[in-house]
């Protein structure tokens, strides 16, 4: 099970999570979500579930599971 659940349709591509991720685990997708934004994608092999993405996200995209 992944450490972070991403609600991709809520993402608006602001980039706060990408900037503040301490492990550079977040990048933007190649395709688009239903609103027309490239959404955040979390690399589980780098993610440490610190929750920085949750803290900085204005759109409640992330849910930390553990």
């Amino acid at each position: 099970m992944s450490k972070v659940i991403v609600s991709k349709d809520k993402c608006k591509q602001c980039g706060f999570c990408v900037k503040h991720c301490p492990k550079q685990a977040i990048s933007f997708s190649a395709d688009f979500n239903s609103s027309g934004f490239k959404y955040a994608v979390v690399d589980d092999s780098k993610c440490i579930a610190c929750g920085m993405c949750y803290t900085t996200c204005p759109d409640c995209v992330f849910e930390i599971t553990e």
Binding site: D9, K10, K12, Q13, C14, G15, F16, K19, H20, F37, I48, A49, C50, G51, M52, Y54, T55, T56, C57, P58, D59, C60, F62, E63, I64, T65, E66
Partner: protein, 246 residues
């Protein structure tokens, strides 16, 4: 290991703001604080006229939209009639300062026991980014196309300092959102402000410096840089007044 984190269930759906808008973060912080303080039903959020009035049907708590700028008066009524209710007036700077200055100041003057969250983004966001009292010197807006001229319109206003130094209120602070640490500090200010209300100490106000990428003409990340470089030197962060609880 970090604990699991999930957005408050009382935020029902995607917040309706522009990409990178600070409102989304602040609304989440307010709802998290309400949840952590154990308030489920007995809560009222006063919405302003402005971007935050887009929150209609997004929050699973009672809300009230006052006439433009008059939330200071509306929330006074509600808090006096329902003293057990947690009353939070969530306003933008245009609504709270420019339009509703009299109501905001009079509520603080009377030390009404409710909490004001004032979102300062330096312009009138919803109507297209007109110059506000909080616009910075030289800031280009749709009504100051050559930059704000302080000879003509004066310097930006610092309402939290005015309230803290003039009136006998309980809690005044100013936070920002440009790093996770600042977001967490802002959350602690909001929580203390609500606690001051719950303890019956008095009026509390938290101003939050928030980015408005759409009307500033910047990317979300560049907007945060602008807050660090231009706004924070003029609007110092931190607790301005804390009378403490019971």
């Amino acid at each position: 290991m970090a604990k699991g984190k999930k957005a408050p269930e009382k935020i029902l759906r995607q917040v309706p703001f522009c990409p990178g808008c600070g409102h989304g973060i602040i609304v989440r912080l307010v709802m998290e604080c309400i949840e952590e303080l154990g308030y489920n039903d007995n809560v009222l959020i006063g919405k302003p006229v402005g971007c935050a009035s887009l929150l209609d049907n997004n929050l699973a708590v009672d809300t009230f939209t006052g006439a433009h700028g008059r939330n200071g008066a509306s929330m006074t009524t509600i808090k006096r009639l329902k003293p057990d209710m947690l009353v939070v007036s969530y306003q933008g700077d245009g609504d709270c300062y420019n339009i509703g200055f009299s109501e905001t100041m009079n509520a603080a003057y009377r030390n009404e026991k409710f909490t004001v969250i004032a979102v300062n983004n330096g312009n009138f966001g919803m109507t297209g980014g007109q110059m506000a009292w909080t616009s910075m010197p030289g800031q280009k807006t749709s009504t100051s196309v050559n930059g704000r001229n302080v000879e003509l319109s004066g310097m930006p206003i610092r309402v939290p300092e005015m309230i803290a130094h003039s009136f006998d209120t309980a809690y005044v602070a100013r936070g920002a959102l440009f790093t996770p640490a600042e977001i967490n500090k802002t959350k602690s200010y909001i929580k203390k402000a609500m606690q001051a209300q719950i303890d019956g100490v008095g009026h509390s106000l938290v101003e939050v410096l928030s980015p408005c990428p759409t009307n500033w003409g910047l990317t979300p990340l560049a907007s945060m840089e602008r807050i660090v470089n231009e706004l924070v030197p003029y609007f110092p962060l931190g607790e301005i007044k804390n009378k403490g609880g019971k």
